[in-house]
């Protein structure tokens, strides 16, 4: 049995005020350097919703334009927005901040989120027009509180403010007076992650054509930790999100591995389906508030808008073979092992070369590689370079070292087998999986014959190991259900059993 990719949804939320209030670069700066020039300049570099909506890399993330179309567009992208850009797209949507605050409240099960009464009134009307907001989700939104109460909680009760254009329209309060694991800061971070994942789950259930009651398992693969002081990373985001998304027959669990987690989760989901354990498994993740404006200092210094103002999410539905959708090749998985080491060539060998060798393939045999798909317009001004390009160069350079490619072909290899990066720098979000939706379509149309998804993670950031990590898998076209073959096998077995029985009878005589 094969495990196929039935659908992949991608959503973005434009969160300009959260950049200033919650991004870790900004919260750190307020501690270290409260009166800094950067903090003063930052508000002038914040984008409008319309500008974020028309931003070409964002259009690509939600499937409105392909990576190839993005690559052909004029740069800088922030000065060349797409006209008449719409909120909803093939893969998902770009939600504005005000509606998202209501969704955060709808995702709050412990009475921690409060919003100003007039704000709720006007915004609820907007959100109720959202095609995927069911009545039971909208009913979770509360009537609202006074401005005075909001000010009091932010100033006196350690609550985290929720702002629109700098004005407080609500707050998330702490869930415990002493336990820092349940502080307002962490509750906000976790609720944002939950709400953005829920939004992408709603899109996946809407577009996949699969009934929500058929989903049996959810694997959540973000980089947040949910728990209290006695079980700091206890979890379980997956089930909490499935609850709001209305997946009544699902249970689930969280899978962690820094930026590599989504690729690990895909392999796990595909294995659970292939083993026959579950028929439908969803891999899902919401976004990160901490990473908002992470490279903001460089963007401000260089006169750019702060481009890291998007909270992202995705949900991918992995199902048992339908004979149509592309499948995940579980026979040839690339793994960065403990023994691999950290040198870039060893890492690339483990993740790309070795699984291909085991499948009798060469590096140029793969039509498209998707490693880390960060939008270079965000990373280049911060001195981190063009990360997807560096990955394609590494893969090509390894092919040269292995004698599978001429050195002079390196640039054309990158052009042919790579692509322009588009994903927001939301940690786990860019790592291979943004291409899964496009790869599914390109394999269905026959535009490509295979793709390799590579997830990589910086485990050393957790200070428990110096190791790197990564896992890769191939997506292949489905050539139809294997019914014919199964029928033949069965027929063959029956014939064989029949012959053996007759043979045994002939040996044992007729007298039994």
């Amino acid at each position: 049995m094969k495990s196929v990719i039935t659908w992949a949804s991608y959503v973005l939320v434009h969160t300009p005020d959260m950049v200033i209030a919650n991004g870790s670069t900004q919260t750190t700066e307020r501690i270290v350097n409260p009166g800094s020039e950067y903090l003063q300049q930052l508000p002038k570099h914040i984008r409008s919703y319309e500008s974020a909506l028309s931003y070409p890399p964002n259009r690509c993330y939600i499937g409105d334009i392909t990576p190839a179309e993005l690559g052909a567009m004029e740069q800088p992208y922030y000065e060349n927005g797409i006209e008449n850009a719409e909120r909803f797209s093939k893969f998902g949507e770009i939600m504005p901040q005000d509606e998202f605050y209501l969704l955060i409240q709808a995702c709050d099960s412990f009475d921690l989120v409060f919003l100003e009464e007039n704000f709720v009134k006007t915004t609820k009307e907007k959100l109720s027009k959202h095609p995927l907001m069911r009545e039971d989700i909208l009913n979770r939104i509360k009537d609202g509180t006074s401005k005075e109460e909001i000010e009091r909680f932010i100033n006196e009760e350690h609550a985290e403010g929720l702002y629109i254009k700098g004005e407080a329209v609500g707050f998330v309060k702490r869930a415990h007076d002493v336990d820092t694991n349940l502080s307002a800061h962490i509750m906000l971070e976790n609720l944002v992650s939950k709400a953005s994942s829920v939004l992408s789950l709603l899109h996946t259930m809407d577009k996949s054509g699969v009934d929500p009651s058929e989903i049996e398992y959810v694997i959540e693969c973000s980089e947040e930790a949910c728990g209290d002081m006695n079980q700091r990373g206890g979890g379980n985001f997956a089930k909490a999100e499935a609850e709001i998304a209305g997946l009544l027959n699902a249970t689930g669990s969280d899978l962690r591995g820094f930026c590599a987690a989504p690729a690990h989760a895909m392999v796990t989901a595909a294995s659970l389906v292939k083993a026959g354990t579950f028929k439908h498994v969803i891999v899902t993740a919401g976004g990160s508030t901490a990473k908002l404006g992470m490279n903001g200092k460089d963007h401000v210094k260089k006169g750019l808008p702060v481009l890291e103002d998007m909270v992202a999410g995705f949900s991918i539905l992995v199902s048992r073979d339908d004979g149509v959708n592309p499948y995940i090749d579980l026979e040839h998985i690339g793994r960065h092992t403990v023994g691999t080491g950290s040198s870039p060539q060893a890492v690339t060998s483990s993740l790309v070369l070795h699984p291909l060798q085991s499948a009798n393939l060469r590096i140029p045999d793969i039509d498209k590689y998707a490693a880390e798909m960060q939008n270079p317009e965000i990373t280049k001004p911060a001195g981190a370079g063009d990360v997807p390009l560096a990955n394609f160069k590494m893969i090509g350079a390894l092919a040269v070292k292995e004698g599978q490619l001429e050195r002079k072909e390196l640039n054309s290899f990158i052009e042919k087998h790579g692509m322009q990066g588009w994903a927001p720098t939301q940690g786990h979000i860019p790592s291979g999986v943004p291409y899964v939706g496009f790869a599914r379509e390109a394999l269905l149309s026959g535009e490509i014959k295979n793709a390799m998804i590579v997830g990589k993670g910086s485990l050393f950031l957790g200070r428990l190991t110096n190791l790197f990590d990564g896992i890769s898998f191939m997506m292949l076209p489905n050539k139809g259900l294997e019914e014919e073959k199964q029928f033949d096998d069965k027929k063959l077995r029956l014939m064989l059993a029949d012959a053996l029985r007759k043979f045994a009878q002939s040996l044992g005589g007729e007298g039994e």
Binding site: T28, G383, G385, K393
Partner: protein, 107 residues
């Protein structure tokens, strides 16, 4: 440069003496290499970390620069680094690093 790394650099400079330290970078880009090099010579240009305004003037190199590469066992270099010479813009890295060393390195 990461604030914790800046703290460590400062502590080791005090412990061993700045003249005995060499900083080796693995930066992906010339600009990032330049900023890291500036941080350990002239002080943190982003004004965020403990090295802000601290002019240590340390010796600092990128691992792909000839000065360092020449001291590394060629077999090990080939195994660990060489592929990245096809990926990184070495010329850009060298020119950034040289400019910073010429201006700020004290040793």
């Amino acid at each position: 440069m990461d604030l914790e790394n800046q703290k460590r650099v400062m502590e080791f400079a005090e412990k061993y003496g700045p003249e005995n330290l060499v900083i080796i970078l693995g930066s992906a880009e010339g600009e990032a290499a330049g900023i890291a090099a500036e941080t350990v010579t002239a002080g943190d240009p982003t004004f965020a970390g403990p090295l802000t305004g601290v002019q240590l003037g340390l010796r600092v190199y990128h691992v792909c620069e000839e000065e360092i590469k020449n001291e590394i066992d060629p077999d090990i270099y080939d195994e660990q680094i060489s592929m990245m010479e096809m990926v990184l813009d070495i010329d850009d890295i060298v020119s950034e690093m040289t400019a910073i060393r010429d201006e700020f390195c004290k040793y």
